[in-house]
């Protein structure tokens, strides 16, 4: 076997990993600042998490335990294939349990379970530039970041209120990091924004197509932008999770039939299973053992 060409550990070659690690270190040193990096071609299309995969590959070690989620779920296509990818190219232990993971790669959610010291959350980011749809010129947005000129961000929120009576941005809700850089938290629901604030875990953001890495070191001040008379609020749900009865968590709407039947369940599948294992039950839930039978 030794004579055959094979993958390096975690797919990327060591020089590339060093380059990405340097970008990550710089990103950690300047929280919220978008560090350009030489994004590589990955064996998946752009938009499927090439940025997140490269960041994960660069920080992954043989002793790490990896969890991958897509919209909170461990069992959707994107999550399953990225998890299988790292099992194959790095042979690392994988898990679906938030508590046991050392690295969690995520698409569009932050786990409900509070992350702790030593864990790393890696976000897949489609468009890292929060000002992109307001100012199309990259030269200008860079200048705006450099000079901390963020009035335009409030123009967007103003438009929201003028049109809808409230701030209608519900995902990719802009945040200000350590009172300096305005950052796009990737398309996570704004429900997750408060979890970024003073998080014990290291948060890394990778945008493969746009070739940017940014980061929030542990215990970073993260404030969602708002107006004094229209303060930031998170989504609230009328009912608890139909399966586990959890309240104050982010719920997905699941259509049950074509007669208008629907249920709301935890978007974080691991959290939901965990609660059902502990015996909590929602009004449409079935105890875990029965479900397995």
């Amino acid at each position: 076997m030794s004579g055959l060409a094979t993958y390096n550990f975690a797919y990327l070659d060591e020089q590339t990993k060093r380059m990405i690690r340097r970008a990550i270190l710089k990103a950690i040193a300047i929280p919220g600042y978008q560090v350009p990096f030489a994004s590589r071609e990955m064996p998946m299309p752009y938009g499927w998490g090439t940025g997140g995969v490269q960041v994960t590959a660069a920080i992954l070690g043989p002793s790490d335990v990896l969890k991958v989620i897509d919209q909170g779920a461990d069992d959707t296509t994107n999550a399953v294939s990225i998890r299988a990818f790292f099992q194959k190219v790095a042979n690392v232990e994988v898990t679906t349990r938030t508590k046991e993971a050392t690295i969690i790669q995520t698409r569009h959610r932050i786990p409900e379970e509070k992350l702790t010291e030593g864990q790393v959350l890696v976000y897949q980011v489609p468009i890292p530039e929060p000002l992109r749809f307001l100012e199309p010129r990259e030269t200008e947005t860079r200048k705006m970041h450099a000079l901390s000129e963020y009035g335009l961000m409030h123009v967007k929120l103003y438009e929201d209120i003028a049109r809808n009576g409230h701030i209608a941005t519900t995902y990719a809700y802009p945040v200000k990091v350590e009172g300096r850089y305005v950052m796009d938290p990737s398309p996570t629901p704004k429900f997750d924004n408060p979890k970024m604030h003073m998080s014990e875990a290291l948060q890394l953001f990778g945008a493969g197509r746009e070739k940017r890495i940014y980061a929030l070191p542990p215990f970073t001040d993260v404030v969602s932008l708002d107006f004094d008379d229209h303060p930031f609020t998170v989504q609230s749900f009328e009912k608890p999770c139909a399966l586990c009865g959890a309240e104050g968590v982010y719920l997905d709407e699941v259509v049950l039939d074509d007669r208008g039947g629907r249920m709301f369940v935890c978007s974080d599948t691991d959290y939901c299973e965990d609660r059902r294992a502990q015996g909590f039950l929602g009004d449409q839930g079935v105890p875990l053992k029965e479900a397995a039978e």
């Binding site: 000079l147 009035g151 335009l152 409030h154 103003y158 209120i161 049109r163 008379d229």
Partner: protein, 258 residues
């Protein structure tokens, strides 16, 4: 009472390679004064305006601005951050084409309120109130506050652009052909409005125009440019009624008589 000039321009020159943009322009602009720069197209009016408003870097010469703290600052020595701050607080720039000065895809209210938000206003209610107040001052019905400028006529867009610039109470406004492309009756109302605002707010303004009638109505003083040089300057009425240079005489005699 000692009044000091707002802007001191000395030997301002802009070269495009070997070609002259504008050459050796010197003047002082006083608080509350409106200065018109006239001349035919290609005479360097817009180049001069761009150099004054720091949109272009001059080849030589100096422009000093009387800051609010009373000190004179050389504009080319300001940091980028100071320069941009000045441009969105103490200055205004009215473009010939409103699309260049407005955000066409956000509502009129957001256009007018943008400068307030940029300098840190964070109360939606107050921003909206100020925007609606300014819309009515430029004769746009406040009921159109949530419409996009795309839905506005040319004259309304131009007035919206003026409101957007004046909301932070600037002391100096640059205008590049503010009435270009508008029909005469709209032009007349716009000029009337600008005259009123300049008078009420005590603004200083530098207006570039090729239309001598506009210059006569708006400005106190005027400079005539030809081939990048200022060939004549003086009080507007004096220059128009008693032009001394042959070229100015030609300009004045070219005004269409109806």
């Amino acid at each position: 009472m000692s009044v000091e000039p707002l802007l001191k321009v000395n030997g301002l020159t802009k070269m495009y390679g070997a070609r002259i943009g504008c050459a050796d322009v010197s003047f002082d602009l006083w608080p509350g004064e409106v200065l018109a720069i006239v001349g035919e197209s290609g005479s360097g009016k817009t180049t001069l305006l761009s150099c004054l408003s720091t949109r272009l870097e001059a080849t030589s010469g100096s422009v000093e601005y009387h800051m609010r703290d009373g000190a004179y600052r050389e504009l080319s020595r300001l940091t980028e951050a100071e320069r941009r701050f000045l441009m969105r607080t103490d200055w205004g720039f009215v473009h010939q084409n409103p699309a260049d000065g407005l955000r066409m895809t956000v509502s009129a209210g957001a256009n007018v309120g943008e400068r307030l938000m940029a300098i840190g206003h964070r109360r939606y209610g107050e921003i909206r109130e100020a925007a609606s107040d300014w819309l009515s001052r430029v004769e746009i019905s406040p009921t159109r506050i949530d419409d996009q400028p795309r839905a506005f006529s040319g004259g309304m867009r131009q007035r919206l652009q003026i409101a957007r610039n004046l909301i932070t109470g600037p002391r100096l406004v640059f205008m590049d052909e503010p009435t270009g492309g508008l029909d005469v009756s709209v032009q007349a109302r716009l000029l009337d409005l600008v005259r009123g605002l300049v008078h009420d707010l005590g603004l200083s303004a530098i207006v570039v125009t090729h239309d001598l009638a506009v210059a006569r109505l708006l400005s106190h003083r005027m400079m005539v440019m030809k081939d990048g040089h200022v060939i004549e300057q003086g009080l507007t009425d004096r220059v128009l009624d008693d032009p001394r240079e042959p070229y100015t005489q030609l300009l004045v005699s070219s005004i269409l008589q109806v």
